[in-house]
């Protein structure tokens, strides 16, 4: 909201400089976002929080300055001679819930012209457009006391009367901005005998607005239900100075006074002949709300020791009624313009604000430390260990959007039904309409983004969530996703491209770091991955995820021309299997012996088959079985491979003799020949 320093001083005799006031207001909760020098004036841009509709006017801010500087407010007095001869307006409120109070008066014999310079310059100083003397005064008064007003040309109201009611489906109105708007039962309107003439609390109608030919004005000063106005304004897509204030709650007790102030000013400015008695749909007096304030409790919340007298002074300065009732208890009565104050804690905030947050000491809570468990949860400890290992392995952590476009191709390939994809009901665009079911697409986005900018080596991981639906219940689940492509080594003596075994190795290292032993990679064709290089990762008998080379068809969709290796692992499965406890096992007491076996074996015999045979025979005595020198080609028959195994033997309780080791080695060789028809070289 724009606030003029000079105009503000009409209501409170403050002498300090504009910038000093700006600081003071900012530190009291009216954040001055900017000051614009304008001739001899300074205009503040103030951010008003949604709980303080009373600050949406100059008197409200002046009230604050009164409390802050201990000054005396100058409230303008209106002198108005009402005439019983001028007929009172006919007002019928049909929707009393939507319009708890409607005050109206008729001003007769007005001369509509441009405003005089005094009024015009004031409303223009805060960026409002001047219209005519009557309309300008309604705006002036709204800025002065916060009550939005409306002036109708009474002679254009059919039947000369006002009915406050809900609009009927199919009714229309052309508002003063020239737009035609369709109305329905959700919208509260001001109607004449036949048609809506204003959208209540939001905007007036074009054909009943006051113009230069207007002779009789019907002045409206009402209180409308904030929720109704808010919904209506949203539905119609309009926000006005009036609707902004009604949504936030105007002072229901101030309607009459505001109308009298405006009528008096219009009488004078428009040289009107008379003003009628006022119609008021709810003349019952607004009762002040009483709140008890326990001063000791207030100080306990704040960590201060402000005496009861100090609290009373602050609250009085804000315009509240304060009485000492018993030791350390204040009985506070809250007038209708401060309906935001409902409970003791609201008063505590007022005391803190005016006392000054700066004057409250800085202490540290006596709560020492969280008692149960570790300060970081187990999942977080595992996640941090994983992150450290992966960055250490050369991968960069990425964060991609959880919201992405729907991808029917990926969805179909993975067999995800459309109803299982969590869609956003109010998306910003189709680019971010659905919560991701897998992280793969986001990873490929990143690869594509980089390779298309000539960054060919991409090594990434993300610890994020995937989303799905269990019936009607939306679900989310943690996922670790990885992708690598390009060169893993590019030194001057050697170049080496990434391979599926690199990503497999990273996962193996990760599992070692997390104390996960019971895992396997089960080769099988998987959707979106190349059938020749894809596997399911199983941990403790549960499917933990997949690993593989991305299928060419999918790469084409992302405009990627290089091989990309990916993996996605379920974090809950990993968390469940992880064992972060470490215990020292003692170093081996006896030496080990190594035997190498060089085999030529059918290509179909897998490493896992061969290792399991060796382990079967040697049991715990074979502590390491390591394959190396895999070779196919010359000197090896087609359909066969040559491979070397290094088997390290050790017993925990004795030194193995040469004979023992040789005997095991011999049995292994025999069995490999028997099982796989291997040739031992």
């Amino acid at each position: 909201m724009k606030v003029s320093y000079n105009w503000l001083r009409d209501y409170v005799p403050v002498k300090v400089s504009p910038s000093e006031i700006a600081d003071k207001l900012t530190m009291a909760g009216l954040e001055v976002k900017g000051i614009e020098r304008n001739g001899g004036d300074s205009v503040y841009e103030i951010e008003i929080t949604s709980n303080r509709p009373d600050w949406l006017c100059l008197l409200g801010i002046a009230h604050e300055i009164q409390a802050l500087y201990d000054l005396k407010l100058k409230v303008p007095k209106s002198v108005l001679r009402k005439s019983a001869k001028t007929p009172r307006p006919s007002i019928t409120v049909e929707d009393k819930k939507g319009c708890p109070r409607y005050v109206g008066a008729v001003i007769d014999g007005v001369n509509i012209a441009l405003s005089d310079a005094g009024i015009a310059s004031k409303i223009e100083s805060i960026g409002m457009r001047q219209v005519n003397n009557a309309a300008d005064i309604t705006n002036f008064c709204m800025m002065e006391n916060g009550q939005p007003l409306h002036a109708f040309d009474l002679d254009k109201l059919e039947g000369g009367k006002i009915i406050v009611r809900r609009a009927r489906k199919g009714e229309e109105i052309v508002t003063i901005d020239g737009a035609k708007r369709s109305l329905d039962e959700n919208i509260l309107v001001i109607a004449d005998a036949k048609k809506p003439v204003a959208i209540a609390g939001i905007m007036g109608g074009k054909n009943t607005e006051v113009g230069f030919s207007t002779k009789r004005i019907l002045l409206e000063s009402a209180y409308f239900d904030p929720v109704l106005i808010r919904r209506g304004a949203r539905q119609l897509g309009i926000s006005t100075e009036a609707s902004y204030r009604f949504e936030r709650n105007v002072d229901i007790g101030g309607c009459l006074k505001a109308a009298e102030r405006a009528a008096a000013m219009i009488m004078q400015a428009c040289k009107a002949s008379s003003v009628s008695l006022f119609s008021d749909s709810s003349s019952k007096k607004q009762k002040a709300i009483k709140i008890k304030l326990n001063v000791a409790r207030a100080n306990k919340v704040l960590g201060t020791s402000i005496p009861a007298q100090g609290c009373a002074t602050i609250l009085k300065g804000l315009g509240l009624g304060v009485k000492l009732s018993g030791k350390d208890v204040l009985s506070v009565s809250v007038p209708s313009f401060r309906r935001d104050l409902k409970a003791e804690i609201d008063l505590v905030e007022e005391i803190a604000r005016i006392y000054g947050y700066d004057n409250i000491p800085e202490t540290i809570s006596r709560i020492q430390i969280w008692g149960k468990g570790s300060q970081k949860g187990r999942d977080r400890i595992i996640e941090e260990a994983a992150r450290d290992l992966l960055t250490g392995a050369g991968l960069n952590e990425v964060i991609t959007y959880s919201l992405r476009c729907k991808d029917p191709y990926v969805q179909k390939a993975l067999g995800i039904r459309d109803e299982d994809v969590l869609k956003v009901q109010n998306p910003l665009s189709s680019e971010s309409e659905a919560l991701r079911s897998v992280l793969l697409c986001g990873m490929l986005d990143v690869v594509s983004y980089n390779v298309n900018r000539k960054v060919q080596d991409v090594r990434i991981f993300e610890l994020g969530k995937s989303y799905s639906c269990d019936g009607d219940i939306p679900c989310e689940s943690g996922v670790l996703a990885m992708a690598v492509c390009g060169m893993k080594r590019k030194d001057w003596n050697k170049k080496e491209a990434f391979d599926i075994f690199d990503i497999k190795g990273i996962i193996e290292s990760l599992f070692a770091r997390l104390g996960i032993n019971g895992y396997s990679f089960d080769v099988k064709p998987l959707p979106l991955l190349s059938p020749a290089a894809s596997a399911v990762v199983t941990v403790d008998g549960k499917q933990a995820g997949t690993i593989g080379r991305v299928d060419k068809a999918l790469l084409d969709k992302f405009d990627i021309k290089t091989a990309v290796f990916v993996s996605e692992l379920s974090l809950p499965v990993v968390y469940a299997a992880a064992n972060m406890e470490r215990k020292f096992m003692g170093l081996p007491k006896f030496p080990s012996a190594v035997r190498d076996i060089s085999l030529i074996v059918d290509d179909k015999a897998t490493n896992s088959d061969i290792v399991s045979i060796i382990r079967q025979i040697c049991g715990e005595l074979a502590i390491n079985v390591t394959p190396f020198d895999l070779y196919r080609g010359e000197q090896v028959p087609k359909g066969y491979k040559s491979i070397l195994y290094s088997v390290e033997y050790r017993a925990g309780d004795r030194t193995l003799t040469d004979e023992e080791v040789n005997s095991l080695d011999g049995k292994v060789r025999e069995e490999l020949v028997r099982k796989f028809g291997a040739k031992i070289r």
Partner: protein
């Protein structure tokens, strides 16, 4: 025979001197002193010499053997001392073979650093779901459904009453529903609001939330704790100010500004010439929130705070466009190693 001895000695001496490594030296030892070596061969020939020459030549040959042995030893020592430089290793100005190394995302780095400070103050880290209900995101936090205060929490809905949390505060309620005070927690996490993506907005961003509840937690504690965090994270000389503000779930509420660490508070383009940077919102937990989690009325007080991690990350590293955080350009990420 004497000539032969002389010839072998000369040849051995020259060859040993020319040898450059242990392997060559070993081969030479075999050549001269080995079982079938040249010296051994000569020794074998002694048998066929006239008897009067035998003792003399025997002595001569043994002397030769030990002389060659000496030369071997000397050369061996020399080789051991001199560095071996095969051709490829001769130019050490070539770049080294660097192991691969990756980096955490700058947002993760910021979260970790922020949490570190609070961990040091005895806070516990807890996390909550991103998909929330209206109850946890709004109602239990004293945010009325049809109130302008909701405007600040514009929200993505995914199903009836289910939404993507627009702040990390729902975890306050979830935590208090199951735990009793006293406690100090921090909650990092992703949050979502329907803001179109541009240089300073994103529909997905990150927050760290904090909550301290006990029987006598005060606003002064709030000030002390957050000031300590700010000085530890932004530097000991950082100025802090607590400015009254409004949040439905805290009262009294404050926004916290720190003196701009770009210009030192003098005013620059980053702080909008104000000298202050707004970095977090906080306040005393509203009694209605305690009521929502069924704590005994009036028994506890507490404070809560929340900060935008993406903004702090951008300020800290001088990142001028929020989109960079989620594009994941390797050339961007690798600057945070």
């Amino acid at each position: 025979m004497i000539e032969k001895i002389k010839a072998i000695e000369d040849a051995a001496g020259a060859e040993i001197k020319a040898s450059a490594d242990v392997k060559t030296l070993d081969d030479l030892r075999t050549k001269y002193l080995g079982r079938k070596g040249l010296v051994t061969e000569l020794l074998g020939q002694i048998a066929s010499l006239p008897a009067e020459e035998k003792p003399h030549m025997g002595k001569e040959l043994n002397a030769l053997k030990s002389r060659i042995e000496e030369v071997f030893k000397a050369r061996q020592a020399e080789i051991a001392k001199s560095p071996v430089l095969p051709k490829d290793h001769s130019d050490l100005t070539l770049p080294g073979f660097r192991p691969l190394s990756g980096t955490k995302h700058p947002i993760t780095k910021t979260i970790d650093e922020v949490l570190l400070t609070f961990l040091g103050m005895g806070f516990k880290v807890v996390e909550g779901p991103e998909i929330e209900t209206e109850f946890y995101n709004f109602e239990a936090l004293n945010i009325a459904l049809d109130h302008p205060s909701r405007d600040a929490f514009d929200t993505f809905y995914v199903r009836d009453r289910y939404l993507l949390r627009s702040h990390t505060s729902p975890m306050q309620v979830r935590f208090m529903e199951t735990e009793n005070p006293p406690f100090k927690i921090v909650v990092p996490g992703k949050v979502y609001r329907p803001d179109a993506v541009d240089a300073s907005h994103s529909f997905m961003f990150h927050q760290v939330e904090g909550l301290v509840v006990g029987e006598d937690v005060t606003f002064a504690d709030l000030k002390g704790t957050l000031s300590m965090f700010i000085r530890s994270y932004f530097g000991a000389g950082t100025k802090v100010r607590f400015r009254p503000h409004h949040f439905p779930f805290t009262e009294p509420s404050a926004e916290v500004d720190v003196s701009c660490f770009i210009c030192g508070g003098k005013g620059c383009s980053v702080c909008g010439r104000k000298g202050w940077l707004e970095i977090l919102g906080c306040g005393m937990v509203h009694p209605n929130v305690f009521k929502a989690v069924k704590y005994a009325p009036g028994k506890y007080t507490g404070f809560a705070f929340g900060m935008g991690i993406d903004r702090i990350t951008m300020l800290k590293y001088g990142i001028n466009d929020m989109r960079l955080l989620f594009e994941n350009d390797m050339r961007f990420l690798e600057q945070f190693k």
